[in-house]
Subunit: 458 residues, 2 copies
């Protein structure tokens, strides 16, 4: 059944790429207020494209910010429903002088389509739209039920989407969620990213006397908030690089042997990392590789510390306050609020006479993980293998894309991140581009994925 789909997509490829270039010409920069009209125009373009593909119930739905574009096709009774997430907004293009060709005037060079949004995410999103079109034009139907939820605020931290997903969770209900906003491991090397770290961010303030004090007249007789905060911060880790906060690791799902084995295909050469960073040695939790430490283990990083006179020279004072900011990266199944509870308990268990310590909780994002043996993950892996000729590698990211976890949790469905971008495609940077070899491979993989999901329900 795949052949007529592929044939249609091959035949229409130039037309489809032309449409993608139209999409890229709209400077839908969500972060910049003056692009508000472009955002609306882009939402309308997206809706029109979905309609043209044959999708139904097209809606441009308001949020507190830029609208969401919704569409569906629900005529496959007994077959699973897949929600496709994507975004029509793009990053600002600055610094403009570093672009070889204008960011919103797309052009193909060396088999790559250059333009802001080409890989993040308009190019990857349109793969799904055109695959829909191919099925409906050649088969008259889709193998599964589909819903599209395309937001306009991904580049501004999906500010209004969590509330939108909560509000419309019945409408968005699905058996699986798919998105293509990540990368392959390399050319010809597909990757399934199955884990993202969560985030807990907070600020610690240590207050001493009611004003800065002369270090000559008071030095040695009052607690110095910098001494106290240094002592406190030094208790957060033990000598083996582990976080020394009681309960911190309690909910961490340990890596399976299968995962650790799989990481060997993707983990970077640690000597190269060390050389690139120009450090004498890497330093992290004993017993874990660099890749494991940065993707699959939780961390507590002090991201800033401040106390005393910040100008030139030594001003001999005992400051009345010192502060530190901390970002914890969390892994499944850690809960940001619980982690901050444990840290607050730890802080107040330290003996720091003569100062007051307070904690202000500021950031929360749950970690995300999909089990690699989940049937939809297996189906995705098989679709990749059938298309690229190799089984995908399994990757995890040390970063955080909180909306992925929100979608999976609120809709109670597994999330599959099928990346078709390549490393080095300059997302968020000048000269963003998309390798067009992954256009046809992308639509083929998606087609095979849907067919496999349909077959699973037989």
């Amino acid at each position: 059944m795949i052949e007529p789909i592929k044939a249609y997509l091959d035949e229409q490829k130039d037309q489809h790429i032309e449409e993608l270039m139209q999409f890229l010409r709209i400077p839908s920069i969500s972060a910049v207020a003056e692009h508000q009209p472009d955002m609306l125009r882009c939402a309308e373009w997206t809706a029109q494209s979905l309609k043209q593909a044959g999708l139904e119930h097209i809606e441009i739905m308001p949020t507190g910010g830029h609208p969401v574009v919704y569409a569906d096709w629900l005529h496959a009774p007994g077959k699973p429903t897949v929600l496709i997430y994507g975004h029509y907004d793009v990053q600002p293009a600055e610094p403009l002088e570093l672009w070889e060709t204008p960011p919103f005037d797309p052009i193909i060079r060396d088999g790559k389509l250059f333009g802001r949004g080409s890989t993040d995410d308009k190019g990857q999103l349109l793969l799904y739209v055109k695959t829909v079109e191919a099925f409906l034009r050649t088969q008259g139907s889709l193998p599964v039920n589909l819903k599209f939820c395309i937001e306009g605020e991904e580049e501004i931290a999906s500010k209004h989407l969590p509330a939108f997903v909560e509000k419309y969770k019945d409408k968005l209900q699905a058996d699986a969620i798919t998105l293509s906003d990540t990368q392959m491991h390399g050319p010809g090397k597909p990757a399934l990213m199955y884990g993202l770290r969560g985030l807990a961010g907070f600020e610690i303030t240590v207050d001493g006397a009611n004003s800065d004090l002369h270090s000559g007249l008071f030095g040695g007789a009052v607690q110095n908030p910098i001494h106290a905060i240094s002592r406190l911060l030094s208790t957060f880790h033990d000598d083996k690089g582990q976080v020394a906060v009681k309960g911190f690791y309690d909910r961490v799902i340990e890596l399976s042997d299968k995962e650790r084995e799989a990481f060997k295909q993707v983990e970077p050469d640690e000597n190269k990392v060390r050389a690139d960073l120009q450090v004498d040695s890497l330093y992290g939790e004993n017993g874990f590789s660099f890749y494991e430490q940065t993707t699959s283990r939780p961390t507590l990083e002090i991201t800033s510390v401040t106390g005393g006179f910040q100008g030139e020279g030594i001003k001999p004072i005992i400051p009345n306050r010192a502060t530190a900011k901390v970002a914890c990266r969390l892994v499944a199944a850690q809960v940001p609020e619980e982690i901050m509870d444990a840290i607050e308990t730890h802080i107040h268990a330290q003996s720091l006479p003569g100062v007051k310590v307070t904690m202000d909780r500021q950031l929360r994002g749950n970690p995300f993980i999909t089990h690699i043996d989940e049937p939809v993950m297996v189906a995705a892996a098989e679709a990749y293998e059938d298309t690229y000729g190799v089984w995908p590698v399994y990757t995890r990211s040390g970063g955080s894309i909180p909306i992925v976890e929100v979608l999976g949790r609120v809709l109670d469905a597994p999330v599959v991140l099928l990346g078709f971008g390549l490393p080095g495609e300059n997302l968020h940077a000048p000269n963003e581009h998309f390798h067009l070899m992954n256009w046809s491979k992308g639509t083929e993989t998606i087609s095979r994925f849907w067919l496999k999901l349909a077959a699973m329900s037989n």
Copy 2:
């Protein structure tokens, strides 16, 4: 022999205060370049005043900055030579709007002479000049040989005086050095300040990778310079508030029982200090009182710490650098360079993989102490007692006036700090003033002091 001196000074008092007011009208602000002409005018006024008193060999001697005014009277063979140090420069007067009367338009209110420099140091300095005048007019001679060394840069850290003293150490040679630039313990309560703390100041830099790193992509696998510096800074003190650097206390001269007993007369109420600072508890080295901790024990205070993003909110990075600045207050007979050697050894003995730690030495000032049983100190105490009716208290300051130590060390003579100012006279602040009751008492104390020094050599 004291009576005719006192009688002359009483008789001339109004005229002398009028001269002091002339002295105060010159805005000799050493820190402000536009007052350069005032500085020269003030040096000339000082020279003229010394000449009028009957002193000889008057010179306005150049330095790399504002000049030194020198004078002497050396006609007391077989008697000791006393070098009198003082300064003709003053602090800036800002904020001007807080002065009740203009800072350079001196006025007497409630027995106090208001004006910038009235207590620091023009008023206290002129006591010596007028005492010379009284002796020479009534006796035709002084009981001891005298030298005056009056600088114009005390308020800008005596920048050029150490080199001047080294260069002219033969010319300045004396058996004792006296200055009045400190305070009594309270009205009617004379004080001999016999110790000042020294200073060693340096900056510590901890360097990690060659750039800031994304805490998601690298967090947990590289050493965070803030973690390293927190750990390092936390090793500088033990749990009992002592400095935990090997050798730090090696040269500290322990307090005698006599000194500790004497402190009981001057030390502040610790509950009041605690309440004033609004802290739950004071915190310092176990086994020492607040006064001892702040005046007679060395300390290591971290005066600033900086690392990571210093703006609003949490920017989740691992910074590539963290820095701290440290000011150690030292007591006799600690040596700043030795102390910094010990700290540098301590720093490099810590295990901090993945970062480089460097130390930049910036400030050095020796501690100062005069033994309270030194014959010149006893003579000063007796002079105070004969004048005020009470034996002086012995005080030490936690602050640093490095030139005091330089004078004593280079000229190899004991330094006696005879304070005639009172606490609350607002030196360095608006509405600086000098209580005129200490004008007559001051000249009497100085007269008696010189007579006693002369008697000692019989």
